[in-house]
């Protein structure tokens, strides 16, 4: 049973056709990596999976994405409720400015109506532990989130996304702004996290995809060239373009 099944997704910015019919299925407890040269529409595609794409003025998307047996592009579906099931971590660490570490983590829950202080405190602790940040910040939860280092900020953003208990976590090149140590911390974290949430991660770093993912999908110019178990994509790609790309003989 897949936890997310995207079928024939097309995405546009105005009249620019950016994503041209990508289909992708992801399994529970797995990390799915999407690789491909920059500008090929990876970000645009995963932003269709939580209906964030359409928030950009002039942008629209077509196709269907089945999560929990429900098409999130169905007619009566509220994008807001979809985004609670599908969390997102961005390329640049972006804790909310002027907000403490604690508030950053629980803001999603608090603004959806959770008022109980004990619940909020325990969710904050659990999410920060899941994001492997708890030990580093437990004594300074009141300090601004922006005062942390880049890697810590990114893990704070992961905790923030986890706190609303999504089923799937989308990550758009989450380590591209980080140094190698911070990067490997986040990579280690993913292998634990996938027990809780399905993970779809965009990366233009092929070594990273090979290290952390179970499934890899290769995209090129808005199309999905091939996808399959990571080991076979990297050792025995079926398509010539994939092989060119992973062996570095590609533009």
């Amino acid at each position: 049973m897949s936890i997310l099944h995207a079928k024939n997704i097309h995405a546009y910015f105005g009249t620019n056709h950016i994503v041209k019919g990508i289909s992708l299925e992801t399994e529970p407890h797995q990390v799915t990596a999407i690789i491909g040269p920059s500008g090929c529409g990876k970000s645009t595609f995963i932003r269709c999976l939580n209906r964030l794409h359409e928030e950009t003025p002039g942008a629209r998307a077509e196709g269907s994405v089945i999560i929990d047996g429900e098409n999130i592009y169905g007619e009566r579906v509220d994008p807001v409720s979809i985004r609670r099931k599908v969390g997102m971590v961005f390329q640049k660490p972006n804790p909310f400015p002027g907000m403490s570490i604690f508030d950053n983590v629980i803001i999603g829950l608090r603004l959806t109506g959770e008022k109980n202080k004990e619940v909020l405190a325990s969710v904050a602790e659990e999410s920060l532990k899941d994001a492997a940040l708890w030990d580093e910040v437990k004594d300074k939860l009141k300090t601004p989130g922006t005062s942390l280092s880049g890697g810590q900020q990114q893990r704070l953003c992961i905790a923030r996304a986890l706190a609303v208990e999504p089923k799937i976590l989308l990550m758009d090149e989450p380590t591209s702004a980080l140094d190698p140590i911070a990067t490997s911390k986040i990579e280690d974290l993913l292998s634990k996290l996938k027990k809780k949430v399905g993970i779809i991660i965009v990366t233009h770093n092929m070594q990273q995809a090979a290290r952390i993912s179970d499934t890899t999908a290769f995209a090129l110019m808005g199309e999905l060239i091939e996808s399959g178990p990571t080991s076979s994509i990297f050792t025995a790609p079926r398509m010539q373009q994939t092989e060119k790309y992973i062996t570095g003989r590609f533009g």
């Binding site: 928030e55 609670r84 400015p97 922006t146 609303v164």
Partner: protein, 280 residues
């Protein structure tokens, strides 16, 4: 190539010119303020702050009613103008590319260029004539209209400075747009917004023209917002055009207090700005 001597000479000349330009541009401010202090400070006393205007020759005359009246007017103006301006600013950012937003933006621009006496006349026509008397409410309303465009535009500017991915991070948590704006984006720029509010208040606290035929003025303590009310600028004006030396002194002291108030608001604003948190 010019010789070293020549270049040093040019350097010195330009230096002197620059310092001169600085002095010239600061001169009006410094001289006005010194003059106000020199003329106004001698009239300072306790009863200046606590007393009512008295007939010529009677002791204990003061501008207490005008000072408190100014605060009442500023309170009414802020109570109306700040929320109104905020809402307009938020609207302009949220519905950026709609025709309605451009309309709001354009009207804010027009509004800020309308002479304040015209705004006073408008309120006179619409409120004072209908209520059949001058009132603090009408005065505050006139002042609030002057505040609205300033606050609206600075709210819009500040909101636009927030990187788009911060808003998206809020949306990605499954929050409706308005909650993201009101509970995540606005708190993050609260300092800058406060700054623009303080500047807007400083700007209107010296306005005289729109108060002439709205708040009008009064010789008594403020009692109701539906009655005419005294204010520093109007009282200064009335005292200054009187033929009495004693009243002229009071006018100067009033001007001194008003200038001090505006100056401290501006300095406070600077202090708040200085510790502004960087946006990530």
């Amino acid at each position: 190539m010019k010789s070293l001597k020549q270049r040093q000479l040019i350097n010195t000349c330009v230096h002197i010119l620059l310092v001169g330009a600085c002095l010239v541009s600061a001169l009006p401010l410094i001289s006005i303020f010194t003059y106000i202090v020199l003329r106004g400070a001698p009239g300072l006393s306790l009863h200046f702050f606590t007393g009512l205007p008295q007939p010529i020759g009677e002791p204990g005359s003061g501008m207490g009613n005008a000072i408190s009246g100014t605060f009442v007017l500023l309170g009414i103006a802020s109570g109306i103008g700040i929320p109104w301006g905020l809402v307009a600013g938020i609207f302009m950012t949220e519905y950026r590319d709609t025709r309605m937003a451009s309309c709001v933006r354009f009207s804010a621009e027009l509004l800020s260029s309308i002479p304040s006496i015209v705004i006073g006349l408008f309120i006179y026509e619409q409120i004072v004539l209908r209520m059949h008397h001058f009132s603090a409410l009408a005065g505050g309303l006139a002042l609030s209209i002057i505040m609205i465009p300033t606050i609206a535009r600075s709210t819009e500017e500040q909101l636009l400075l927030i990187p788009a991915h911060i808003r998206e991070a809020g949306l990605a948590l499954g929050l409706p747009r308005w909650k993201v704006t009101c509970h995540i984006l606005l708190p993050g720029i609260i300092r800058s917004i406060m700054t623009s509010m303080m500047l807007a208040i400083a700007r209107i606290s010296g306005e005289t023209a729109p108060l002439l035929f709205t708040a009008f003025g009064s010789r008594f303590w403020p009692e109701s917002i539906f009655e005419p009310i005294a204010s520093l600028p109007i009282q200064i004006y009335n005292l200054a055009i009187s033929p009495f030396e004693e009243w002229h002194q009071q006018a100067w002291t009033g001007a001194f207090i008003l200038a001090l108030f505006v100056l401290s608001l501006n300095i406070a604003t600077r202090l708040v700005m200085r510790q502004k948190e960087p946006l990530s």
